[in-house]
């Protein structure tokens, strides 16, 4: 007989897959309807093709992250290594920029202070930040020139890294919200912040948990968002 724990994990995986499918509808809809519009207008330009590329790339990254997260079966930990966080965040900011342009959002990279490498899993962290980015960038906002900040700063326990949005407000249930990741009690666990399924946040949470940390609602210099605390690498002591 399947244990209750196993059943719960199975239910969570099924719900997460549904949620990812919901999130993937948006880029596919964008590509399908943009194509239809360009045929109506009888014009196909480079900007349109770039927008297709940005949407498709975002969808593929979410799928990659999901596959990586699911491969970990909720128990396995990714092997942590010493990673230069600044360079990794700089790459991620660059990679998220095309999608940000689609949503008229500016990506701001904020690396506060000096710090050495952190203990994480390079591919896992990159995948988690991309998943998170796919949700944060698409948050509904009427704000012109909205900002998504990708940042790292020191904390008592290590280095905090995450993504923040200038239009995101503090959620009253924020502390317990992310604990719902394994349960998926609602179709839209993050409906307070967006109209979509926000699956990317839960994919990111799964990845962060497999890297010995967890995603939390945080505030950074006036902006709200999601971030995780990473341990400094022991190599830091040699600096």
């Amino acid at each position: 007989m399947q244990s209750l724990e196993g059943q719960a994990e199975g239910n969570a995986q099924e719900a997460l897959l549904m949620s990812v499918a919901e999130q993937l509808k948006q880029p596919l809809l964008y590509i399908a309807r943009s194509s239809e519009l360009s045929l109506m207008e009888d014009k196909l330009n480079r900007d349109l093709v770039r927008s297709f590329e940005a949407q498709a790339t975002s969808a593929l990254r979410l799928l990659d992250s999901y596959v990586l997260g699911m491969g970990l079966d909720g128990q396995t930990q990714l092997e942590l290594e010493s990673v230069g966080l600044g360079a990794l965040l700089s790459d991620v900011a660059h990679e998220l920029s095309p999608l940000a342009r689609q949503y008229d959002v500016d990506i701001e990279l904020a690396l506060d202070g000096k710090y050495g490498p952190v203990m994480t899993h390079s591919a896992g962290l990159r995948a988690a930040l991309h998943s998170l980015g796919s949700v944060i960038i698409g948050l509904p906002t009427s704000q012109r020139g909205a900002i998504v900040r990708l940042s790292a700063h020191r904390s008592n326990g290590g280095i905090v890294t995450g993504l923040y949005h200038s239009s995101m407000e503090r959620l009253p249930r924020s502390k317990s919200l992310l604990d719902e990741v394994g349960r998926f009690e609602r179709r839209q666990p993050l409906s307070e912040i967006g109209g979509g399924s926000a699956a990317g946040v839960f994919v990111a949470q799964r990845l962060f948990r497999s890297m010995d940390t967890s995603l939390q609602m945080r505030k950074h210099k006036g902006l709200h968002g999601f971030a995780a605390e990473l341990r400094s690498s022991p190599q830091l002591s040699l600096l």
């Binding site: 309807r33 239809e36 949503y103 509904p140 839209q188 979509g196």
Partner: protein, 128 residues
């Protein structure tokens, strides 16, 4: 803004831009809102002739917004089209609410093309 006005409530900004262009191309003026709150403000600012809205809005489903809209006597007869990503099966539970709230059409973004949306809007709010 002149002529017929569509109030489009679409949380996804990139996707919303596509629908705005398509409706404008068909001759409509379009006000776009990403949430129920913004939609109320927009409708207060300029009365729409029709509302096209996603059912799944930030914070709640579209029902709360429609109850609010329908409570204003100016908007009791305003045509409403639900244009949503939610699957037909999931929407079944809202079918009674759609009837009570005077929803004229339910279109699914996945299966209904832009031209269908334009045709339905033209049907309920024709440009004369």
């Amino acid at each position: 803004m002149s002529g017929r006005i569509v109030l489009l409530i679409e949380p996804d900004r990139a996707l919303g831009g596509i629908y705005v262009r398509a409706l404008e191309r068909a001759g409509y003026g379009v006000m776009i809102a990403s949430s129920a709150h913004e939609a109320i403000l927009a409708a207060d600012h300029q009365a729409p002739d029709i509302i096209v809205m996603e059912w799944e809005l930030p914070g709640h489903n579209g029902g709360a917004f429609l109850y609010e809209m329908r409570s204003h006597h100016d908007w009791t007869e305003l045509p409403i089209i639900i244009h949503t990503s939610i699957s037909p099966q999931e929407l079944e539970e809202f079918s009674e609410a759609f009837g009570a709230l005077g929803v004229r059409e339910v279109l699914h973004k996945s299966s209904h093309r832009l031209q269908t949306l334009i045709n339905r809007v033209s049907e309920h709010a024709p440009i004369v």
